[in-house]
């Protein structure tokens, strides 16, 4: 393993993040506050409690997931798309590094950034509502796995994309609807029976349910399902990345 190359990529990517630290820090704080003002006040005045948890506190895990997933995808996809776009990828390809090292560097950095933002949201939310974390280890594991797996997905998107529009396509057209319909702002049990069944095909449901369970012990689906779902998703992404590695798809002509 060329550890120094992994460190170099990681450091270089993180530098991009630190250059705009204020932005990276302020925008999640601001958007979280807005969610609490809009959703917490407007909806929270009608829905006071969901299964014994105040509505404001109930939406915190979903809000964190929403931001973390979007940021992981965006960071990782731009991270690897930029070198392709700028042409600087020539250096990665001519360096004594293999694809695994490249993936660790880029995905590691994207996951770190989104993890950071996830924690910022958690702290910000704490100012608005009372949060308790019943299963801190599970919470950390879900959060880290989500950051990693969606960074892997973002990396795949960045490799696949041949223009900027395609990069925002998947997050906007696929991921955002799935997250909003995945129980971020409501419990699945609040839906009519038919929709409850349909919703179970949405993979994000398992993610948010599991994450929320680690906070309040409340889950829409059994926690083992959630764990299996996120592990399966990570496995699929790794499989695709392995295939890209073997074939050099969209990287080496």
């Amino acid at each position: 393993m060329n550890w120094s190359a992994i460190a170099a990529i990681y450091r270089f990517e993180m530098a991009r993040f630190f250059r705009t630290l204020a932005q990276s820090f302020l925008s999640p704080v601001l958007s979280t506050s807005l969610y609490f003002v809009v959703f917490g006040t407007a909806i929270g005045s009608r829905i006071q409690e969901v299964e014994g948890v105040s509505y404001g506190a109930f939406i915190v895990p979903g809000l964190i997931m929403l931001s973390v997933v979007m940021l992981a995808i965006t960071n990782a996809s731009f991270g690897i798309y930029f070198p392709k776009f700028l042409g600087t990828i020539y250096e990665l390809l001519s360096a004594p590094v293999n694809f695994i090292e490249i993936v660790i560097g880029y995905v590691g950095a994207a996951a770190t950034k989104s993890l950071f933002v996830g924690l910022v949201i958690l702290v910000t939310a704490n100012f608005f509502v009372d949060i308790r974390i019943e299963h801190p280890l599970a919470m950390a594991a879900f959060l880290v796995l989500t950051c990693l797996s969606f960074s892997l997905l973002g990396f795949i998107i960045g490799i696949w994309a041949s223009n900027f529009e395609q990069i925002s396509l998947v997050p906007q057209l696929v991921v955002t609807p799935l997250i909003f319909l995945g129980g971020t702002f409501y419990s699945i049990s609040m839906l009519p029976p038919l929709w409850q069944t349909i919703t179970l095909f949405n993979p994000v449901v398992y993610l948010i349910s599991g994450f929320r369970w680690s906070f309040y012990g409340l889950a829409d689906v059994p926690i083992t399902f959630s764990l299996l779902a996120i592990l399966a998703f990570t496995g699929i992404c790794l499989g695709i990345i392995g295939w890209i590695f073997k074939t050099g798809w969209r990287i080496r002509s």
Partner: protein, 309 residues
């Protein structure tokens, strides 16, 4: 002399089926400067990209310092530095960080003294804290070179280092190349400027349509291929070449004031003495004599248009 880079029957067909390299074989000696000369689209960049690992070869093999570029890619690539044809840099990063990144990528820890030395050598030291986007085009090219040198490669590829740069920068580039050669670095540069090959190369390779047409010591090449011409200026113009001079295959130039004689510098007898005697015999009075050697440019044009070799 030891061979540091060995290319054997290298072929490259792109996905669209276009064969950009049609079996190139080339051995490069340690410490030499080889100029690859060829028109646009000849396959120069493809050759470099394949050796450096940016594209995968369709067939053939390449070894750098004895290491196969595919099976021992780490060892092979550590020896090689690449300065690409197009400027490709992260615009918001500083010069220092960009160069340090390259060093790390090639498996070396960041050695501040070494990076400083490289930046100073390329006159980038004052700009080390500037972000790339603040630099001029010439400076960006220097940054590319600094990046390529960051891991102290023994073989350096420069893909058209002086294409579109001003005269001053071109001279600087030549100086940098000369210094690197002094330091023992083997340099392969591509160019379509003949003067460049003429000015700095030890050997010249001519590539066209994916084929290496020849590789030769520059001086030998010029001597072998170079025809010399001697121009005999006459005091009084003539309209026809006298019959007594027909054996010399002369042409008449300059409104009848100049006789042009072409000879081969490698021939046992150049025939100059006889020519001058015969000219005097014919009763012509000489005012001046000039010689002219054909440049690499003419050799090159001949080769690529398929007239010579």
């Amino acid at each position: 002399m030891t061979t540091i880079l060995s290319i054997k029957d290298l072929r490259k067909s792109y996905a669209d089926g276009f064969e950009a390299l049609k079996g190139v074989s080339l051995d490069i000696e340690e410490g030499e400067i080889l100029a690859l000369l060829g028109p646009n689209g000849a396959g120069k960049t493809t050759l470099i990209s394949t050796v450096c690992g940016i594209t995968t070869p369709t067939s053939g093999s390449v070894t750098a310092g004895g290491h196969d570029i595919q099976t021992e890619f780490r060892a092979a690539r550590k020896m090689i530095g690449l300065v690409p044809q197009e400027i490709a840099l992260e615009p918001f990063e500083t010069v220092w960080n960009t160069v340090r990144f390259s060093r790390g990528l090639f498996g070396y820890g960041s050695d501040n003294a070494r990076i400083e030395e490289i930046l100073r050598k390329l006159s980038l030291w004052d700009k080390r804290k500037n972000s790339i986007k603040e630099l001029s085009g010439g400076m960006k090219r220097r940054v590319l070179i600094a990046k390529a040198l960051a891991h102290e490669p023994r073989i350096l590829f420069l893909d058209e280092p002086t294409a579109g740069v001003d005269v001053e920068l071109r001279k600087d580039m030549w100086e940098i190349v000369a210094e690197l050669k002094q330091a023992g670095v083997t340099i392969i540069l591509t160019t379509h400027y003949i003067e460049e090959a003429e000015a700095i190369a030890d050997r010249v390779g001519v590539i066209d349509k994916g084929e290496l047409l020849l590789v030769q010591d520059k001086d030998t090449l010029m001597a072998q291929m170079g025809k010399k011409q001697i121009e005999v200026m006459l005091t009084d113009p003539i309209t026809d070449i006298p019959d007594s001079l027909s054996a010399h295959n002369l042409t008449l130039n300059g409104n009848g004031r100049a006789l042009v004689y072409t000879y081969d510098t490698n021939a046992d007898r150049t025939g100059i003495t006889t020519l001058l005697n015969d000219v005097a015999q014919a009763g012509l009075v000489l005012s001046d004599v000039q010689t002219r050697q054909s440049s690499l440019e003419e050799i090159f044009v001949n080769l690529v248009s398929g007239e010579a070799v």
